[in-house]
Symmetry: C2
Subunit: 245 residues, 2 copies
């Protein structure tokens, strides 16, 4: 009855994300958890027309539908181990937001700070993102509070935002580095680092391996390093990547 | 830098919707507006495994990502005329939830009433839908209140649910027919009809053509007919479709 050919659909990216998160490790587990997590979405031709986003600036938040390009094509399993459950209980893939899904589409509600039109370049400036640099976006939709914000919804095993947040400290040298960087192109950098790290980005299996104590991730143009010390996170390194000069 | 081949993604339906809405005309303009709008999502092989939905029943609402199969392949325009604005102002396609989009993906938050596993059949019973019968679904995600419900979001030109709702009346004969049907397989039928019609499903151009006064749509197995009389909607027909016996 249903034609298979009519059912398969090909997606074309309408834009590409430039994100402060340069690799998968460390990305917040949902959108909105790290307010200062910034990204820019640049529309690709032929979608880079100011008319296509006309009226969008009146919405405070938008939906991004995007491709999990790092996990696309890697197959799927009927069950996954959500980090929320400590990585030791299996849940159905459709009961999670895992990137390893039958169709590798991600969904995030992010804050739309502004839309910038520079000649043929259309740039959407976003906050509160949970998407990686280079992510292909396949759709933008306005966030409609009356339909999308369901205050009575029950969130099952993930009913509340991740609860246990760690304390994050900076060495005096790094604190000074961050202060200078905030005044030069990286506003909100300290809060971005705190909010990203305090949720403890380690996979659950590392949390059971206290012998590994030192971690790193790329954020903006920096190699960020931190250690665990008496239950706290101590930021111990913030070095500009050599590849970026 | 970005490989085109790596960017194109093919979607495979994971399930098909059986909805009370059998045609495009009359479908609510967003999910959640008509509580008694019911649908069933049946998972297709190889996705029809109970493990794949394990834990999903603990969520009250889920996201459906689906294909606008009636408008897919019909192209897109940078601007559309949202019904919300009376059909006479153009907005950027990305500032609307129009089905005529570069990638024909729809997004709806619907109520998950229950999950039924009957042998190899996995059926998700849904309420508050705005999707048509036969719609291919490409993903299910749990609705996560802490990330998805943004109470502070500003909804631009569509900030509130459609405001002007019409009064809906039934002739005595139809009221009796509805009462009997509600006791036999169609619970909530009266409220479904009222909530579907009171938002005035006519396209804006009909609203400017008062000479056309009689309308019809298919709902469940019925041909539903109504007329406009002194600003009210009067339900004047509810006949079982001959094709369904």
């Amino acid at each position: 009855m249903i034609k298979r050919s009519a059912m398969e659909t090909r997606l074309t990216p309408i834009g590409i994300i430039s994100s402060c998160y340069k690799e998968k490790f460390g990305i917040p587990r949902q959108a909105g958890l790290v307010t200062d997590a910034r990204a820019t979405l640049e529309l690709l031709p032929p979608f880079n027309r100011p008319e296509a986003v006309q009226g969008l600036e009146s919405f405070s938040h938008i939906w991004l539908l995007f491709i999990f390009h790092q996990s696309a094509g890697q197959g799927w399993n009927p069950t996954v181990r959500p980090p929320r459950l400590g990585g030791n209980r299996r849940m159905g893939v459709f009961a999670t937001r895992s990137p390893f899904r039958p169709n590798s589409i991600g969904l995030s509600a992010v804050e739309l700070e502004k839309i910038e039109c520079k000649g043929s370049r259309i740039l959407l400036h976003l906050k509160g993102v949970d998407v990686m640099d280079g992510t292909p976006v396949v759709d933008i939709k306005p966030y409609l509070p009356y339909a999308d914000c369901i205050a009575t919804a029950g969130g099952g095993f993930a009913d509340e935002a991740p609860g246990r947040l760690l304390e994050v400290c900076f060495t005096p040298e790094i604190a000074e580095t961050v202060r200078v960087l905030e005044e030069n192109n990286y506003p909100g950098l300290q809060q971005l680092i705190i909010d990203t790290l305090r949720a403890d980005p380690r996979p659950a299996y590392y949390q059971r391996q206290p012998q590994k104590n030192s971690f790193g991730m790329k954020i903006h143009d920096f190699d960020l390093r931190w250690q665990f010390s008496e239950g706290r996170i101590v930021v111990s390194g913030l070095v500009k990547e050599s590849s970026s000069g």
